[in-house]
Amino acid sequence: MSKEKLVQLDNISFQYALETGFALRNVSFDIYEGEWLALVGHNGSGKSTLAKLLNGLHFPQEGSIKVNGMLLTEESVWEIRKKIGMVFQNPDNQFVGTTVKDDVAFGLENNGIVREEMLERVKYSLEKVKMAQFLDQEPHHLSGGQKQRVAIAGVIALRPSIIILDEATSMLDPRGREEVLETVRELKENHHMTVISITHDLEEAVKADRIIVMNKGELYREGSPKEIFQLDEELVQLSLDIPFPVKLSKLLKEQGVSLSRHFLSEEELVAELWTSHYKK
């Protein structure tokens, strides 16, 4: 993976109002081009605030954010919003248009794209998320997963380099969740997009390239999924739920089954178990 720094956060602190405490305190990290970064943490850990700062929906009181080497300020915010697309939690509350195609076009209209190009981009991005046959559909006839895919189409129509999923799958059923994640995964593979997924679903985070754990507005840990899930008890103390295979490995170990480590995926765990006899 290329290690080009796409976003640099330098010593960010942020509070919503003077009387409330800091939502974020001295957070610094980089986001690299083409990676899938998962930001995890329980409610109030500052992970969603972080997303809003990246997109210039709020500005930090201290510290600086650079996207593609450009400093995020009141002036550059519109440029940066073109580079960073966001998909929010509630599928209904981000659907602006009266039909699917109108909604995808909304972002393009805002950025003053000429109509001929709009038609092309709307078609292209809806094909990418496999929603092309729903062009004229109204939002209340779509499932949550379909609405989120339309939201993703609206984001990629603007050709951003980063897509932020702000709890984008948390209101979906398992099928919708899989649809959305699969779509994002394809975009990342085929279009070299950088994905930042903010989530409290650790199953989702397992699939990321890198995980950042947030706690009480501070960066708690940073590492690969393997490293993070070895933390085990620590995660539970942060009221994060550990993924099922990890939990199972732990319980098996307690029962005296010898395992080399805690496994992140069911396949790995199964493979270890059925070959364990030979390794003795």
């Binding site: 919003r81 981000q94 659907f95 009266t98 393009l108 805002n110 950025n111 709009m118 939002p139 603007l158």
Partner: protein, 265 residues
């Protein structure tokens, strides 16, 4: 139910009237409302009626849709008719039974005024039956565009209308959900004295309001994240196209107006 009231009105088809530019339809309706007042005898009212019938047949909307749209206002038309029958006491006496009497002028006025009402309602229902709400919004935005010069927020108004159109079904679904949730908790919406039923609406409206505020805030954030910053520098995806059919329809209406002026007494 509400959804039917607002969206069920539109009857999809490919008629001439359906394909007309919403702007020309709006202009024609507006002018029609004005010229209806020119008519003052049977010939001119006849012309207006023929014009309306031609429009209905061109729109290819099944007659029962038009009738169902008329039902709620039928009482109003009837009421106007009766009012004129009883209260206008001019011209020859046609009929008398005790205190009750009908005069010629009353009958004439009654029929004309209710016919006027009737035609206006027919024409406006043709508009809503052949034009989607969003087309009407686009048409209005375009027609009102010159008002921008006097700082009238045309774009904002149109956006507001389109967002409310988009959220009506969503809020209907939500109302339904809250109603079920409150029914499960023992709120009775459908029986009891009026006073109790009105009270029962409160636990429905409060959650609906709270949620709407939440929705509004989230939608605003999502819109900003997608680069919305007011009407300036925005391009449009939906396009209106004025064609020969629109011009000819306006010319046709012009001819009708000339005929009305010619034949009025």
């Amino acid at each position: 139910m509400m959804e039917k009231m607002i969206f069920g009105r539109y009857v999809p088809a490919q008629s001439l009237i359906h394909r007309m530019d919403p702007r020309s339809k709006l202009v024609i309706i507006f002018l029609f409302v004005c010229i209806v007042f020119i008519a003052n005898n049977s010939l001119t009212y006849g012309l207006l009626a023929i014009y309306t019938l031609v429009m209905i047949s061109l729109s290819k909307v099944p007659f029962r849709f038009i009738i169902s749209g008329l039902k709620p206002v039928l009482w109003l038309v009837l009421f106007t008719l009766l009012l004129h029958l009883f209260l206008t006491k001019e011209g020859e006496l046609l009929f008398q039974a005790g205190w009750f009497s009908i005069y010629e002028e009353g009958l004439r006025q009654g029929i004309f005024i209710s016919l006027r009402f009737f035609l206006l309602i027919l024409m406006t229902s043709i508009l809503t039956l052949t034009t989607t709400p969003i087309e009407i919004t686009d048409g209005l935005e375009n027609l009102l565009h010159p008002l921008n010069k006097v700082k009238f927020p045309v774009h904002e108004l149109a956006l507001m209308m389109s967002i409310s159109l988009r959220f009506i079904p969503t809020l209907m679904q939500e109302t339904d959900k809250i109603m079920k949730a409150q029914t499960a908790r023992g709120v009775d919406f459908s029986s009891g004295p009026i006073k109790d039923r009105v009270k029962a609406i409160i636990p429905l409206l409060i959650p609906l309001f709270v949620n709407s505020f939440k929705r509004a805030e989230e939608l605003a954030t999502a819109m900003e994240a997608r680069g919305y910053r007011g009407g300036e520098g925005r391009t449009k995806y939906r396009q209106l196209s004025w064609g020969i059919k629109d011009t000819s329809m306006l010319v046709f209406l012009g001819i009708l107006t000339a005929l009305l002026v010619l034949f009025r007494t």
